[in-house]
Amino acid sequence: MGIWLHVLQSLLNPGVLLYLLFGVVIGSFLGGLPGLTATMGIAILTPITFWFSPEKGFAMLIGVWNSAIWAGGLTAILVNTPGTPASIATTFDGFALTKLGKAKLALQINTVFSVFGGLFSTLILIVAAFPLAKLAIKFGPAEYFMLGLFGLTMMISVSGNSLTKGALMGFAGLLVSTIGLDPILAAKRFTFGITDLLMGVSFIPVMIGMFGVGEVLYQISVSKSDDFIERDENASDKPIDLGKDHLTLKMIWEMGPLAFLMAAVATVVGAIPAAGGDIASIICWGQAKRLSRHPEKYGKGSEEGLATSCIANNGVLGGALTTMLTLGIPGDAATAIMIGSLMMYGMQPGPRMFVENKEFVITIMLLMIFANIIILLYGLLTTKASIKLLSVKKQFIWVTVLILCIVGSFALNNSMFDVVVMLIAGFLGFFMKRMDYAPGPFILGLLLGKIIESNLRRALSLTQGSYSFLLTHPIVIVLEVLIILALIGPLVKKLRNGRKAVA
């Protein structure tokens, strides 16, 4: 208890809270503007946070992360365009409520229930993380090897429409992770005489490139001609009517039981590597519709449906953090970047972090709580102002993102090589998006490659080269079964859909 109070005292420092507030404000723009995502924002801001202390840096990142996911619901509700992928399900009922003249109610539901989801999953993180970390201490090289493979398999199985493309990207990420010095023998691999490649391909410039530059190039490529025509500034578009309906305590009370259930589901989904807010919100919306007394209202302006999707997309965050902190495996793309950020601060996510950096683990947990409280106040106070987001021109966003990507990647190590890596990753990210190759497996392969390889080789050295550990370790066997299910699941689903179509 003493350590919690000590961390709480150090966080109640105007400096840290100010960075958290900055993060929330920046996140509200990132999430509220279609085309900018929480992952992109965290990727671009990460190099900037290295100049701050770990507490301030992470305060900003946590603020951005939570706020961007919440803010993605704003444009989903107002103009039927999700600000982030996690807000896809928010459009189902959110925009319908706007069309019914209840935009203000919808925006308040978005704020209150997003915060509820975030706080609930953070409480689960606080309760579950320490026991899970104790369990994870029992993990040896064989378990970490299989866990890395499990994370990668999950990402491949949920990425896009093609398992083949997902697998190719995952393996490509693993191969790129081998560039540099071999982790055990220190032999040079695929460096082509370039000194900068001795330390391998840096993860953060790749993230910035794929999610920043790649996304901007894609948006430019699909933009319509009239996006570039100057509009008459006196022309009046019909303003959005916020309406007079607002959220009441009675509504919150009535949605209570369902809210708790969906928050729990979302937290569990978030804990599964690679399952993010988009998957959780669609699963939760579908389940809530099944359980609801008024399923016919779902998709037509159901307050309950909207609340469920908002709970789910912020509810995954605590689950994703649980997996990241206890096992060192990212729960989603944003936590993948945060792992990189922690490593830059000299911390290794995983059970050791709960021993060597216990205070910082508690710091992250408390920052999550503070972030949600700030979002609640900020969101409710800026309900009317959120409409202004719609007037920002896409072209300014594109240019701003490109500049920040270039400057951010250079600022990491004052190295032009990082900018080159970032741009190559950006071009690759564009082609991947254009040709329906999901970047998630590639990023995860790049991040997990060293973990998978070094633990496999350590496991083999412990068994004198024998692969018997695949059949003798209980946790390894459980993970193997989960991997097989994760790979077979989409194939079975595809076969069933094929049979239904024929029938």
Binding site: F190, I220, S223, V407, S461, S466
Partner: protein, 148 residues
Amino acid sequence: MLYGDLVFGAVSLGLSVWFFIMSLGFPSGSSSNGVPGAGFFPGVISILIALVSIVLMVQGFRQKRHYFQPVKSIKEMPTNTRNLFLTIVSLMIFMLLWKFVHFFVAIGAFIFFLNVLFRQKLLVNIIYTVVSIAFIYLTFGKIFHVMF
């Protein structure tokens, strides 16, 4: 015949073969303690990529999907494709220019060009460019001490 996935699959097959051949030249492990050498993991991954690439090529051939429209000249390109092409070219020119002039000159030219490309008004363009350079200089140059 040049379907998107078929081409992509062929390129990745070629790259995987190249990486596999290179990995054969890496130091091998010790047979006494069973630790695989430096070429083991990249070799295995290269083989997996090759196998998946072949599957992708077959799927690409069967699906017959094109992801990009062929264009003969820049004048024939639709606006969005032309903007994309010019944005990519301007990024490359920016990187080359940066080698010969100071970063702020190069980024200023890059920002100005992009705003012209995206049809921003001249005054807005100038203001945006100046404000951006000032922001980068003050925040990254002075506060974060980034050495441009």
